[in-house]
């Protein structure tokens, strides 16, 4: 991976709003990140942190009334968030593929998998029916479906969950997109199957040079797969950086808590570690840093800045963290933040 290459995907100051009768909810608030070609960016966070919405926004499939209220999304330097429907449709599947959470419901039950794959191929590439079918068979072989030339004529219900997710992956890859949004691709699967699917995603990403935006709440999946990771909290990015750094020396108190909450087999603790409280509802995001009511380090930042002013991403160690502990204009003992876990 090289972070110096021109980014494939740039998300700049993205803001996603849901107008409701009781006012506008801001589900994703001013987030920015890049994905380099071939890079795997993990996006991790609790339910409702805005990670899936970010993925949906990138592929242009935000469900109304959700809408992009501000910011830009650029693919290969070209702005795609304001494209007309038909233009964006041509990008979907061709340049940005998608994998959804539940393979059991992602496939149309009434069509053979072969029909669904060839349909996708022929939508984007100018090939004949037989060529598309040959391509579909080799795609199925590539994702590890045994006897692909026979299974291509099977219906989705004739596949197991893991096999269906392989089919879904082959569908996402059908037109060789440069970026895949994988939204919780393993959450609905058995743990033993999860590893296989993750390995497959990683392998295919490497072989095709496909970048992946991997949305999940499973730190284990991120650790195994991602090059970099973005930790989201209440619609904002709390911390973003190389995966090893974020895991081993997290800089944001939330990330610290998150890593501390992962139980390991060696631990003899009776109780599981947890972060006190819960993520705020979208209707009641606190002023200042959204994490401040749960943060144990609020008192380490002078002038109560955490409760009044919202922190932006600041360089912190080898990562970037949205936390006033890393502000350079105040004198805080930054060393204290280094992994109290």
């Amino acid at each position: 991976m090289s972070t110096n290459a021109a980014p494939l995907l740039q998300v700049k100051n993205l803001r996603i709003e849901f107008p409701t009768r009781r006012g506008t909810l801001v589900a994703v608030d001013d987030i920015s990140f890049d994905i380099a070609p071939g890079e795997v960016l993990g996006v991790v966070g609790e339910s409702g942190a805005g990670k899936s919405l970010t993925g949906a926004a990138v592929i242009g499939l935000l469900e109304p009334p959700g809408r992009i209220a501000a910011g830009e999304i650029l693919l290969n330097g070209r702005r795609i968030d304001n494209l007309p429907f038909e233009e964006m449709r041509k990008i979907r599947g061709r340049e940005i593929g998608a994998i959804f959470q539940d393979p059991l419901t992602s496939l149309n039950p009434l069509y053979t998998v072969g029909r669904q794959i060839t349909e996708t191929i022929r939508t984007h590439l100018d090939v004949s029916e037989t060529e598309a079918r040959d391509r579909a068979i080799s795609l199925l072989q590539e994702v590890g479906i045994p006897a692909a030339e026979k299974r291509i004529d099977a219906y989705p219900h004739q596949f197991s969950g893991g096999m269906r997710q392989r089919v879904v992956i082959s569908l996402a890859l059908a037109a060789q997109p440069k970026l895949i949004i994988a939204d919780e691709p393993t959450t609905a699967l058995d743990v033993s199957i999860q590893a296989q699917i993750i390995t497959l995603l990683k392998k295919l990403g490497r072989e095709h040079g496909t970048a992946v935006m991997l949305v999940t709440h499973d730190m284990g999946v991120i650790a195994e797969t991602a090059d970099r990771v973005a930790v989201m909290y209440a619609g904002r990015i709390a911390e973003i950086g190389p995966v090893a750094e974020v895991i081993h020396s997290p800089q944001h108190p939330y990330t610290v808590g998150l890593m501390g909450a992962i139980p390991s087999v060696g631990d003899n603790n009776e109780r599981l570690a947890q972060i006190e409280g819960s993520m705020p509802r979208l209707t009641a995001i606190p002023k200042g840093c959204a994490f401040n009511p749960r943060c144990t380090r609020v008192k380490d930042v002078p002038n109560g800045r955490c409760t009044t002013e919202r922190p932006n991403l600041l360089p912190a160690g080898k990562t970037q963290a949205a936390c006033w502990l890393h502000a350079t204009d105040v004198t805080v003992d930054a060393n204290k933040t280094k992994v109290p876990a």
Partner: protein
């Protein structure tokens, strides 16, 4: 598949036996046929004689067995009112009713499905909203009222279409059809619209709600994420998934249309089975009523059977048993 058909056929036979039993009971409960047939001054020995000659002195199950035996051969006796074999009367009237009901069903599908799809896809447009409101009228207005309005407008005021009858008919073997002559077709328009309005609104509302349900599913989202065109998503993926319930309802509706064409046939004096039945009821013409009951029962059973077969062609999950997907 074969086992399924056999099982369904056996069930159908049971249903028909039950219907036959009810039809048979009509004879016993609607009145004593012997006293209907004999003059009031007949003696008890006359009565016993007639009773014996009609086989009415035999035990109940023997009578029922004979009734079923005759019914299977299409023999329902002689109409008390018209003095002709009931089966012959029904065969004469059946084509008129079937043509009317089929036309109404075709109108229901041809109008109901596109309008339903439209109102689902453009659910916020003014046209969709007014169609939806209008459909309430179709659901709630009684058939005879619509028929009378149509007669008033198109037959009385505008004089465009005939208000009653079936026009000129052509005879093809046993079947008489009104579809081949201009007057026959013109006569079909108003009754078919009257009868078809309810299925139109029903199918439209059904397609709309099913379609909106399907459009929310993951596989539609995924189909969009694959960049398929709107047409492919809406008509290739979504519409086909709405068809299973639509087939069921349309099938049941068709049975209903045939059975309840009675009112429309009465309003338009359409020479179908419904009109025959109404006249039979007024005259307590029990053989006709019993035969009509059995025939309608048979039509319902056949339609249900066909509908179940159609599921197999639409939904592969039913077609292939012993699938890999279990226990989720």
């Amino acid at each position: 598949m074969l086992a399924f058909i056999i099982r369904r056929l056996l069930q159908s036979v049971l249903v028909m036996v039950a219907v036959g039993f009810i039809a048979f009971s009509l004879f016993n409960f609607v009145g004593d046929p012997v006293s209907l047939m004999l003059p009031p001054e007949a003696t008890q020995s006359d009565r016993d004689e007639v009773r014996k000659s009609l086989g009415l002195d035999e035990p109940f199950y023997v009578q029922f067995g004979k009734f079923v035996g005759n019914a299977v051969q299409g023999n329902f006796g002689i109409s008390l009112r018209l003095g002709r074999p009931v089966s012959q009367l029904l065969i004469e009237r059946l084509p008129a009713t079937l043509e009317l009901a089929m036309t109404a069903a075709v109108i229901g599908l041809l109008v109901g499905i596109p309008v339903g799809v439209y109102t689902a896809l453009r659910r916020n447009s003014i046209l969709a909203k007014s169609l939806l409101t209008g459909s309430l009228i179709g659901v709630s207005l009684p058939n005879f009222l619509i028929g009378i309005f149509l007669i008033l407008i198109f037959a009385v005021w505008l004089g465009l279409l005939p208000s009653f009858g079936r026009g000129d008919v052509t005879k093809i073997g046993l079947w008489t059809t009104g579809l081949l002559t201009v007057t026959g077709l013109k006569a079909l328009v108003l009754p078919a619209i009257t009868l078809g309005l309810y299925p139109v609104t029903l199918i439209m509302r059904l397609v709309r709600s099913e379609m909106m349900e399907v459009l929310r599913t993951d596989y539609i989202k995924f189909a969009r994420a694959r960049g398929l065109s709107n047409n492919a998503v809406h008509f290739g993926h979504a519409l086909k998934n709405t068809l299973v319930p639509v087939i069921t309802i349309t099938g049941l509706q068709l049975g209903g249309l045939i059975a309840f064409a009675i009112i429309t046939e009465t309003v338009f004096q359409w020479p179908g089975m419904g009109l025959l039945f109404i006249q039979a009821v007024q005259f307590a013409d029990i053989p006709v009523m019993a035969a009509y009951l059995c025939l309608i029962g048979l039509i319902f059973v056949l339609i249900n059977l066909t509908v179940d077969m159609l599921y197999y062609t639409v939904d592969p999950r039913l077609r292939i048993s012993g699938s890999a997907a279990g226990g989720h």
